[in-house]
Amino acid sequence: MFVSSLKRVAPQLLILAIMIGINVIVFPGFLSIEFQNGRLFGNLVDVLNRGAPTALLAIGMTLVIATRGIDLSVGAVIAIAGAVAAKVVVDGHGWHLALLAALSAGIICGIWNGILVAFLRIQPIVATLVLMVAGRGIAQLITEGTILTFLDPGLIQLGAGTIAGIPTPILIWLGLGIVVTAIVRRTALGMLIEAIGINERSSRLAGINSGVLLVLVYLVSGFCAAMAGVIVAADIKGADANNAGLWLELDAILAVVIGGNSLLGGRFSIVASLLGALIIQSVNTVILLSGMPPEFNLVIKALIIIAILVIQSPRVKHMLYLLRASSEPLNREKPATSIEEGRA
């Protein structure tokens, strides 16, 4: 079983290795990791740390996409969760309450999306568009249009602190990733989610409570987004309703797609999506480290992403398969010709 799952993520591991290889070429000290002042330092640690919001979003987004849905609202939920956390702390409450309030806000957003999709039967892309448009307005309503700054050490610890020398965001996304993977893979939940993605109607006829499961999936996505929102806000010690998590939903969807998960639902792999998030982050790092003018960032990122997507597109895969299949008979003929050559 371990071998088969390794085979599943092999393309992602290969791309990640290539990206890290390019990183090492442009910046030879890329792989060195130091331990200073009770904290790990190094570019690899940075990739893991900076990739935390995208990785967190990718966990929830993978499940949503596996049900043949999509969650466009996660960027807005990041803004809402950050605003809620900051507001609670600024009002003089502890960071526990702030975290709890932010996560609850994310869960409420997720349930709202889930109800629209599961019970009002609205197309996911439209249903989550509502919150995507309105969410930033709501976040601005909470922060009253300003950037709410805070100095609560407990909350800042979540985004910028360390536990046993490892930056907290890394532990949070790794932990959440392991927990969610364990839950969906050690129980039948993962299979049921895949069943909904492959054919919702027949899965319902087979006795799967698809309504509740769909709401649950969007709830997890909202929860992950809220967690990412708290980290983003804690990292800059403030809640910026306009820019927090801007376009992160697109990065998260890209991470899931680079992870080889089909946008049409069905089989999914959270590990592959997390690798996808790390690939995106190492693309960002390579552009940064290479010292190229920052104007070129987006163009290069777009070109790399297009290249990865073209390689993974069904048509190209099919052509590669045909190429391999047609070369097989040639292989069989080869020994024969070489023998003839030998005779000659």
Binding site: I70, L120, R121, I122, Q123, I125, V126, A127, L129, V130, L131, M132, V133, A134, G135, R136, G137, I138, Q140, L141, G145, A241, L250, I253, L254, V257, L263, E295, F296, N297, L298, V299, I300, K301, A302, L303, I305, I306, L309, V310, S313, P314, R315, V316
Partner: protein
């Protein structure tokens, strides 16, 4: 009775009339020609973008790149007019050629590589925005006498409003688009594609030509919107028009077009744009409401129209059930 295909359009129209009446009852000055003229001028670039988006959404696709293409067009025009001596009209033609080719390229990838439009246009969005950054990261002013001539063209409406050239360009775009969508073979093909790709192919719709054409139209109209936007602001800035694709999608949905494709009208999109413009105008008139209320109200409206469409969908299926039962029996 109104046919069910026209009902969403009718409801959008009624919403607009009702909203305008409510606004006017509170602020009678909103009935003036000046407000009406500004409604057209301020939303000209968004309206033109939404026309292209309507075609894409009617075909069952989506185009996330339009906002970035508008920004790219603006920066391209500003840089070209600053650094070279070519006439703005030549620059307009050049930039339209680039944006049409850009849209066609995305359409080809979508069709030939069988990739989802969402992901392809997302990459296109990064690419266009990145190209704008590469050209210039600063806001570049446009100071060409031809721009002054174009900006000086207006028709003084009774009541003091100025009906400007860019408003006319938007109206013209809508009229041409309506003719193309409802009276040409290409328009019929777009509806057929949105109704179901498999069925359309069996019916003999040229899939490659139609798909590429749709995204080329969307790209070209985004380019035209970029030209209009540069006339509106007299500058090119690579960070401008972030999120315009969302506004355009919202306007199309409020205009009664189904996001699944196959059903909707260009005229509906026009009123969708006017409703969104009206919300903004109301907030300006009120003065105490903050700008973020615009987003919340548009979100709420979006939700209301989606639920409405769902309700209409249920109503039509409920009506057809007896017919199918009848067919089974016979």
């Amino acid at each position: 009775m109104i046919r069910s295909t026209n009902l969403p359009l009718f409801i959008t129209l009624m919403t607009f009339v009702l909203a305008y009446a409510l606004c006017a009852s509170q602020y009678p000055a909103m009935l003036s020609g000046r407000v009406a003229a500004n409604l057209l001028t301020d939303n000209a670039f968004l309206g033109i973008t939404a026309v292209g988006m309507t075609f894409v959404i009617l075909s069952g696709g989506i185009d996330l790149s339009v906002g970035s293409v508008i920004a790219f067009t603006g920066v391209f025009l500003a840089v070209v007019l600053r650094d070279t001596g070519i006439h703005p009209v030549t620059a307009f033609a050049l930039v339209l050629l680039i944006t049409i080719a850009f849209g066609a390229a995305m359409g080809s990838i979508i069709h030939y590589l069988e990739m989802p439009p969402f992901i392809v246009t997302l990459a296109g969005m990064f690419l266009a925005r990145g190209a704008a950054y590469v050209l210039s990261t600063d806001s570049v002013p446009i100071t060409h006498e031809f721009y002054d001539v174009l900006q000086g063209l207006y028709w003084k409406m009774p009541g003091g409003g100025r009906f400007r050239l860019i408003g006319a360009v938007m109206l013209l775009t809508f009229i041409v688009a309506m003719i193309v969508a409802h009276r040409t073979r290409f328009g019929k093909n777009v509806y057929a594609l949105g109704g179901g790709a498999g069925t359309a192919q069996l019916m003999g719709v040229p899939m490659a030509r139609t798909t590429i054409g749709i995204y080329a139209v969307s790209g070209g109209l985004a380019g035209l919107a970029g030209i209009v936007f540069s006339l509106y602001t007299s500058a090119g800035y690579s960070l401008a028009t972030v999120g315009v694709e969302l506004d355009a999608i919202a306007a199309v949905v409020i205009g009664g077009t189904l996001l699944t494709g196959g059903s909707g009208t260009i005229a509906g999109t026009f009123f969708g744009i006017l409703i969104m413009g009206l919300i903004q105008t109301y907030i300006v008139f009120d003065g105490t409401l903050s700008s973020w209320w615009t987003k919340i109200v548009i979100g709420a409206l979006l939700f209301a129209f989606i639920v409405l469409q769902k309700g209409l969908g249920w109503a039509t299926t409920a009506r057809t059930i007896p017919a199918t039962r009848f067919a089974e029996r016979s």
